[in-house]
């Protein structure tokens, strides 16, 4: 049964990167519990636009939890309090009538705020550019059985490849570290034969890029894996550490 609830939103408003920003309190009435969190923000914005106000800027795209565009910190939790869920898939039935909801952008030195809840996550793109790929010759695809991949290994690689690059791990980490994101990429490719030839170069380059972007260091708080909408495990962080040890001390790569 659909109900409506009344909410008080405390939303971070920031006109641009140079604006110091502030919280704005917005009272919202008649929020259907069937709405998603972003639909609730849409309703707030539509009302604002009709009234001639400035809508709240937030990132979104697919709204089905697979693109990695959305994400804000809701009551201190990136993507909200529901486990394994992106913000677009968080529904208002998980809130109670009369709740106050504090909505903030992802906070990290490497993720500067562009406007309101929109942050610049291009640091994650720089990490991918540093090594989150495999180099293959174009042309006809090789015969599938020339590269055997055991199913359990494929599954583990797939667990890491589930990363949608939303950056919630960085936002959730007390140190604003990008280790879960980076390790998901390193692990995904290190587990597959296609990724092995560049594994040593990849892990060292990605760690270097991660440090250059100004992310913090991993302290094994595990907030990232608890927050990740794809529930990516810190097992991958251990694999990154292992791959980096091997690459750093045993490979000719520097």
């Amino acid at each position: 049964m659909s109900q409506t609830i009344r909410l008080t939103l405390k939303i971070w408003r920031q006109k641009g990167p140079a604006d110091p920003g502030r919280f704005e309190t917005v009272a919202v009435d008649g929020v259907s519990t069937d709405m998603s969190f972003l639909e609730m923000l849409d309703v707030v914005n539509e009302k604002r636009i009709l009234e001639g106000g400035e809508p709240i800027a937030f990132d979104h795209d697919c709204r089905e939890g697979i693109c990695g565009s959305c994400g804000a910190v809701v009551n201190g939790r990136p993507h909200g309090h529901l486990r394994g869920t992106t913000l677009c898939q968080l529904h208002m039935r998980h809130f109670r009538d009369g709740d106050t909801i504090v909505i903030e952008p992802f906070r990290a030195r490497a993720f500067p705020v562009i406007k309101d809840l929109v942050v610049d996550r291009s640091a994650l793109d720089r990490l991918i550019q540093a090594g989150g790929y495999v180099s293959v010759n174009t042309g006809s695809a090789p015969e599938a059985n020339t590269l055997p991949v055991p199913p359990d290994r494929a599954e583990r690689a797939m667990d890491a490849a589930a990363c949608i690059g939303c950056g919630a791990c960085v936002a959730a980490c007390p140190n604003a570290s990008a280790m879960l994101f980076t390790s998901a990429k390193v692990s995904h490719l290190a587990l597959l034969p296609q990724g092995r030839p560049e594994a040593a170069r990849r892990v060292l380059a990605m760690v270097r890029a991660m440090d250059a972007c100004g992310f913090g260091n991993c302290s094994n708080h595990r907030e990232c894996e608890m927050t990740c909408p794809k529930e990516i495990s810190i097992v991958h962080i251990a694999r990154l550490n292992r791959e980096a040890l091997k690459a750093g001390f045993l490979s000719p790569e520097a």
Binding site: P174, V207, C218, H221, C224
Partner: protein, 213 residues
């Protein structure tokens, strides 16, 4: 040489140094604990242990130098990591919330670490850098733990060490990449066991000495 500096200077390299030196301290704690047990053998047993340690001469100095080197690396790297991590989020959150990953132990690591440093300095001047005569080490320990405030300080500090061990132990394995579905549950359990062993094993010692000696 340049490759080594940049490798150990990277974020993962700094964590490896924390892990390896941390393992060394865990080894030291185990040895220190075994040595402490001789106090229950009485005056001769404990003084004998202390004399045996001293008679090791160059070996003792080698171990001490190793521990000091580990301490320097652990402390400077730890402080550097702490400062870098603070810098990585210049603007904090209005609402501080946890998804359930952080523990009392994990969130207090830098602070318990600094407390332990202060305690170790005090402890060394209290029992180690002291003349062997006229008071023997047994007399000093027995006298110290007749004072309730010192019993309280030592016991409380052992709880602080236990908190540091609780997160440090499993964390060190994770950092060097030793995370395996078969062994990780054991490592987590051992981490908790090591913390309790530290708190109870070391922490009860001043109380027992006060009661028995």
């Amino acid at each position: 040489m340049g490759w080594l500096v940049s490798l150990l200077g990277s974020s993962v390299g700094k964590k490896w140094m924390m892990a390896v030196t941390g393992f060394a301290f865990l080894g030291f704690l185990a040895a220190h604990f075994a040595g402490n047990l001789t106090v229950f053998g009485g005056r001769e047993s404990f003084n004998g242990y202390a004399q045996k340690l001293q008679s090791l001469g160059p070996i003792l100095h080698l171990f001490r130098a190793g521990l000091i080197a580990c301490a320097l690396v652990h402390i400077t790297t730890g402080l550097l990591l702490f400062l870098q991590n603070r810098r990585a989020r210049p603007v904090g959150y209005q609402v501080a919330a946890s998804a359930g990953g952080r523990t009392l132990s994990s969130r207090t690591m830098p602070y318990t670490g600094l407390l332990i440093l202060a305690f170790v300095v005090f402890h060394l001047f209290h029992f180690t850098f002291v003349p062997p005569a006229p008071l023997t080490i047994f007399d000093r320990v027995a006298a110290a733990f007749r004072r309730p405030e010192l019993v309280a300080l030592y016991t409380a500090m052992m709880v602080v060490v236990a908190l540091h061990v609780r997160h440090g132990f499993w964390s060190a394995f994770q950092t060097i990449g030793a995370h395996h579905p078969k062994y990780m549950p054991w490592i987590f359990a051992l981490s908790l066991a090591a913390a309790f062993a530290t708190a109870i094993g070391f922490g009860s010692l001043p109380i027992l000495v006060a009661a028995l000696v």
